[in-house]
Every structure is written in structure tokens, then in C-alpha cells.
């Protein structure tokens, strides 16, 4: 059955993300918040996260390459990104943010650039995987709602 196969695929995919340290236990909490009343929750939250992250990383890169680096703006940006990463369970990205914060504290511009590169790279990896995850979720949801429709059609037909 296509549904079971997809579910297994999704499960294995998420597990691989755990194994690579891309996700941590917080993601399990998020998965637990999805149910029949909120079948789209995971996809919604991931999408919000990705939009946010992309915006922040773009800003970080912009501020970092300015002549006079505004450290307070940078700090506020990375604080936000770290918070979002923590909330969604994006483990490696969260750690990368902590490294950037550390580099700020040390007022080490070279270190900051390096840490920012890592953040950008980590997000690229994570973003790609999240895209696949969302596609799997959507496919599963599509089959489920199809089945529901067919189910009610059968009921209607038999009465």
C-alpha cells in the first residue's frame, strides 16, 4: 500500500537526519503536535522556520560584509536564528549559531566570518533535507485525504 511505503520512507528519512545530528529531540516534540485536527502542522512550522532562517542569514551576510560592522544588529540576528533553530530541533544549526555568538564575544572578525560561513552551509544542507521532508508529508496527506473522500463516496453510494 502506497501510504505505508511513504510513511516508512518518511520515518527512515527523519531517522537519517537524527543520525547526522541535523535534528534533535525537539523535532520529536514537534512531530507529536501533529494530528488529524492539525495534519499540516509539521510542514507549516518547517516552512515558517525556513523563511525566517533565509531572511536572517541574508541579513547576517549583508551586515558582516559592511565596512563598519554593526555588532549589535548581528547579535540580535543570530540570537533570533539560534532561538528558531532550538525551537524546531535544528541541532547543528543551533550549535553553529552558538559558535558565531562566541566569535562576537571575542570581537574576532575573522572568526565571525568563518562561523557565518558554517551557518550558511549548515542551513543549505538542512534546507534541502527539510524540502524533501515536506514533500513526503504532503504526499502522505494527499493520499490520506483521497482515501477519506473515497470513503465518504462509498458511504453515500450505499445509502
Amino acid at each position: 500500500m502506497a501510504l505505508l511505503a511513504l510513511k516508512a520512507q518518511l520515518s527512515a528519512f527523519v531517522q537519517s537526519m537524527f543520525d547526522e545530528g541535523l535534528l534533535d529531540g525537539q523535532f520529536i516534540q514537534i512531530q507529536a503536535l501533529q494530528d488529524e485536527t492539525n495534519p499540516n502542522f509539521i510542514a507549516e512550522v518547517i516552512t515558517s522556520f525556513c523563511n525566517d532562517a533565509e531572511r536572517i542569514i541574508t541579513e547576517l551576510n549583508k551586515y558582516m560584509t559592511q565596512q563598519n560592522v554593526d555588532f549589535s544588529k548581528l547579535e540580535s540576528c543570530v540570537h533570533q536564528l539560534k532561538g528558531s533553530s532550538s525551537s524546531i530541533g535544528a541541532h547543528r544549526l543551533k550549535l553553529a549559531c552558538a559558535d558565531l555568538q562566541q566569535a562576537f564575544d571575542e570581537k574576532n572578525k575573522g572568526g565571525c566570518l568563518k562561523a557565518l560561513n558554517i551557518i550558511t552551509r549548515e542551513y543549505c544542507i538542512l534546507g534541502g533535507k527539510f524540502e524533501t521532508l515536506i514533500q513526503l508529508e504532503k504526499s502522505i496527506l494527499a493520499i490520506k485525504s483521497n482515501q477519506q473522500q473515497q470513503g465518504s463516496y462509498h458511504i453515500a453510494k450505499s445509502t
Binding site: 516534540q29 503536535l33 502542522f41 515558517s48 525566517d52 525551537s87
Partner: protein
């Protein structure tokens, strides 16, 4: 306005992060709370019916304990770090308002800073949650809301008695034009009500000032 208990408690959640708002809303709904989310402290105050320049006068009579509130809020949960008005600033404003100070406030933060936690608890926050907030954290909320609901119901019934009595008094006074009608309730009504309210507040304050480091391993 009704004293009849609503089947669900209503929580106002304040957080500038969209993801965190989605999460806390979902967590609260799963825990069977009614939820309203706002993205800033000033929007929260707006929702609560408190305006920036509103100095709530304790002498002002009111039919309902919530002067301007359209919707009853049983608990406020707010992020600490927000641009503009921080969660701490919001907490202070709420505790300074005579109409809002009885609403329990919970602070959330991604950072485990003991001095920050102490400051919030001393200012009157009921709990301090470390982010990301878990479903189990929310189980601690109901007792705080129950306390307030009972208190509010007592206040409401007291104040209705007050208004009824003062209406009768003013009707009587109208028949004998004497001193101008004052809106404040007759003197003999106030002491019992004030004592009761004071006693309830005193009963609560030991809890508020005692620092609680719930689930927080770092204790200074």
C-alpha cells in the same frame, strides 16, 4: 458578563518569533486552553484593554473587575527577549495595573540566566519556563489559573453586592437632596471587601517571592 465558569481557560501568549508563537499555540490548544497570540508587549496590553497612559484608579467603581477587558484572560505567557517592550517590562506593567495584576504571568526564555529568573519571580511571575517549552511544562499552568478564577468569582460577587447596595442607597439619597451623589460606594461597605482582598493577596505573596528554579539545573 457572567460568573458562570467557562469550560476552557483563556491564555494570552506573547512572542515576537512566529515559530515560537505557532508552537506555544499548538501546545496550549492540545492542553485544552483557549489561545490568543500576539507578537509584542504593546499588542498584549492593547488586547488586555490597558492603554499606555492608563493609571488605573483603585477608587474607581466598576461592575466587573476587568475594567476594559472584553474577553477574560486567565493567564499570560510571554517571551522574555522581545524588541521594544521586553517580557519583563510587560510583567511590570501588568503587575502595576489594578485591573490586571491578578492575572498570573509566566515568562519564557531561551537563556538560563539565574539573575533574570529571580528578577522575574520577584516581580510577580508565577513560573519561568526555559525554551523550547514542553507539553509537561504546561501542566503546571492550571493550578495558577484555578486560583485566579476562584478569586475573580469572589471579587465579582462582592462587587455586584456592592453595586446593588450602592444603587439602593443612591435611590434613597435622590429622595433627599443633600450632598452630591458620589459614585463611590458607601463607606461601611468597603472595609470587609478590602480585607478579604488583602487577605487573599497576602496569602499569595509568600509563593510569589519564593524563587522557584523549576527544572533549571543551574542554581546560583
Amino acid at each position: 458578563m457572567s460568573i458562570a465558569a467557562d469550560s476552557k481557560f483563556h491564555v494570552l501568549a506573547v512572542d515576537d518569533s512566529l515559530i515560537d508563537r505557532k508552537l506555544i499555540e499548538r501546545l496550549l490548544k492540545i492542553s485544552s486552553f483557549q489561545v490568543t497570540t500576539v507578537d509584542s508587549g504593546s499588542k498584549a496590553l492593547e488586547f488586555l484593554g490597558l492603554h499606555e497612559d492608563d493609571q488605573s484608579n483603585p477608587e474607581k467603581p466598576s461592575v466587573s473587575p476587568n475594567n476594559h477587558q472584553e474577553v477574560e484572560v486567565n493567564l499570560i505567557i510571554t517571551d522574555y527577549c522581545m524588541p521594544g517592550m521586553s517580557g519583563y517590562d510587560l510583567l511590570k506593567k501588568i503587575k502595576e495595573s489594578s485591573s490586571l495584576r491578578n492575572i498570573p504571568v509566566v515568562i519564557m526564555s531561551s537563556e538560563n540566566v539565574p539573575s533574570r529568573i529571580t528578577r522575574c519571580l520577584q516581580e510577580g511571575a508565577e513560573e519561568f519556563f526555559l525554551k523550547p517549552v514542553q507539553l509537561s511544562d504546561l501542566n503546571r499552568l492550571k493550578p495558577h489559573m484555578m486560583k485566579t478564577k476562584v478569586k475573580t468569582q469572589n471579587q465579582e460577587s462582592n462587587e455586584i453586592q456592592l453595586v446593588e447596595k450602592s444603587e439602593i442607597q443612591s435611590q434613597l439619597q435622590q429622595q433627599q437632596p443633600q450632598s452630591p451623589l458620589s459614585p463611590t460606594p458607601p463607606q461601611q461597605q468597603q472595609p470587609p471587601n478590602n480585607n478579604k482582598r488583602k487577605a487573599m493577596e497576602e496569602g499569595l505573596s509568600p509563593d510569589r517571592t519564593r524563587p522557584r528554579y523549576n527544572d533549571i539545573t543551574t542554581v546560583v
